[in-house]
């Protein structure tokens, strides 16, 4: 299996969204897509900082929704609004994301408008899921941890490899 590209039969008109916030999350997404030969091209890409836009534009038309975390709670309002607007305008069939919190917000709205959610929790989370992962796993269609020991702690979380 390792390295083999199994012939997936994915419908070519699928509206696929890929997304990640900065740093390791972006590296993880890029690593995943480097191994995703059998997937169709992304229809949309979402990220959190303008400085990342050039990298994401190579994947597909890119929306920048801003960064927020627990040290900047006020920024969450704007990110929440932009996540909502992205999802309502584009209605992706599926989102595949490596986090973090701003992408969790996009997942909420994609799900709300009938899309499916694939969440890959960060490899940096070695003991338990991130706060965002713990939220998204409750409604995600697929939720992965990058450590078997983390996946084992939750019913609906699996391990299928790691990205960094």
């Amino acid at each position: 299996m390792e390295g083999a590209s199994s012939g997936h039969n994915i419908r070519s008109d699928i509206r696929l969204c890929v997304g990640a916030s900065s740093g390791g999350h972006t590296n993880e997404l890029m690593q995943l897509l480097a191994h995703a030969e059998s997937w169709p091209e992304a229809t949309f890409a979402v990220t959190t900082l303008e400085i990342l836009r050039p990298q994401f534009e190579r994947l597909g038309p890119t929306t920048v929704i801003g960064e927020c975390h627990r040290f900047k709670p006020w920024a969450a309002v704007g990110v929440f609004g932009r996540a909502f607007w992205f999802a309502v305008r584009n209605r992706p069939d599926v989102i595949v994301t490596t986090g973090s919190l701003p992408l969790a917000m996009v997942c909420i709205f994609v799900k709300l408008f009938g899309g499916k959610v694939v969440w890959i929790d960060s490899v940096a989370q070695m003991e338990e899921l991130s706060m965002s992962g713990n939220l998204v796993r409750r409604f995600a269609d697929r939720c992965y941890a990058q450590w078997p020991s983390v996946a084992d702690k939750y019913d609906n979380v699996s391990y299928a490899g790691e990205l960094l």
Binding site: E2, R11, G24, S38, V96, A124, A160, G161
Partner: protein, 157 residues
């Protein structure tokens, strides 16, 4: 050249101040720092607040060794470029990150032979010779397994 990087999410003044002190004591050594929105501005290192991916990668490529926070982005970039990296984990108690995952992460990557760790930025100075000679072990990853598993799911959508 030594490159110090704190990533794209939060400042890390404790690290930048310590490196600036070392740079002050060693004027022959060139340092470049990426400091985010840190309040402390280095006086003995060239610095930028943010770098785009290409500049960041080029600077890593030009560095003899790297010093930084225990962020996965930096660790991954260092391993890809096969550069020795000395990391200082951010501490939740000091308001440097939202939790202490950098502390456990640093230990894991240290024990795997991928990076060196300074628990405290004051230890950096005495570790620099060790870092220069450090050859990082590449990490074994199985990204294809995950991409295939998600591909199976996408076939059902």
């Amino acid at each position: 050249m030594i490159f110090v990087a704190v990533g794209s999410l939060y400042p890390f003044d404790r690290l930048i101040q310590a490196c600036d002190r070392i740079a002050a004591d060693n004027p022959d050594q060139e340092w470049i720092a990426q400091i985010h929105e840190g309040e402390y501005e280095p006086k003995h290192m060239k610095f930028e607040r943010f770098m785009d991916k290409d500049t960041f990668s080029t600077t890593i490529g030009n560095a003899e060794l790297l010093v930084g926070h225990a962020g996965m982005g930096l660790i991954n970039d260092a391993l890809t470029a096969q550069k020795p990296l000395l990391i200082v984990p951010r501490r939740h108690a000091l308001g440097e990150h939202v939790n202490d995952h950098q502390v456990s992460g640093a230990e894991l990557f240290r024990s795997g032979g991928h990076v060196l760790v300074a628990e405290n930025p004051d230890d950096i100075s005495s570790m620099l010779d060790e870092v220069r000679d450090f050859v990082p072990k590449p990490r074994q990853i199985r990204a294809a397994g995950l991409a295939n598993d998600i591909g199976d799911f996408l076939s059902t959508c």
